[in-house]
Symmetry: C2
Subunit: 145 residues, 2 copies
């Protein structure tokens, strides 16, 4: 169990969202996370659903796709250390996109209420999430231009 | 002076970023803000600059435009209560867009280090900023689709 917590803390340290969080606080985040596995092709969540978890990708690759009408477009391909699924935990709207396994994947899942508690207890986590959202918003605006 | 603080607190309460922040904490935010005025056509900040303030719009309308190559595109028109200029305070990159006065405007400006101090002291403010960034990211992704 100790090895697992250490492995999760190392993963979180490599993630842009969690990299500025102190190791003590990361230990709390790690203790609140649950490992989940998905086979290639499986959906982790679907656009339009109300979700209650955010995810940090430990192994494998995840695709994020957006469906509009009959068209589906790949927005991003994520690798180890990247976070996804946090948006609807922050704005209380349904999932804005679908996440699916491009390979067999292992993720660490963090439940919505736990995330909110951690944000309230650990402001450095907020700065990490804000920085990550801000960078993604820059990318999206540039793709629009 | 008391009237001014009260006016800023009311404005912040109407803003999606600050609406969940307690009145006591909003008082701290309001005390840290400075009023600035811009005439129609004046730039509040320019894309590519490093900025050190975020803004809450008190009166008038502000345009946000993105320049790519020789082309300039209007990304958004903002009205009273809306916030802008917070992105580069969070991700330490240059301004991602230009903000300019579509009419004579009055804004309240909050300095970067003050914003960070307030985020660290007041986690509800973080949740407000994250919700706002998340909603803007949804909009940008949908415009891309």
């Amino acid at each position: 169990m100790a090895v697992d917590i250490y492995r999760i803390i190392l993963l979180l340290k490599s993630s842009s969202v969690f990299s500025q969080v102190s190791t003590d606080d990361l230990r709390q985040v790690a203790l609140a996370m649950e490992e989940e596995r998905y086979l290639v092709g499986e959906h982790i969540f679907d656009q339009g659903q109300f979700g209650d978890h955010m995810y940090v990708l430990q192994a494998g690759r995840v695709g994020i796709s957006l469906r509009t009408g009959n068209r589906s477009e790949c927005l991003a391909e994520l690798g180890a250390g990247e976070c996804f699924g946090e948006m609807n935990l922050l704005d209380d709207l349904p999932r804005s996109a679908t996440a699916y396994a491009l390979e067999d994947v292992i993720v660490f899942a963090l439940e919505k209420q736990r995330l909110r508690q951690l944000i309230l207890r650990c402001p450095e986590l907020s700065l990490g999430i804000m920085r990550s959202l801000s960078l993604r918003l820059r990318d999206a605006n540039l793709r629009n231009a």
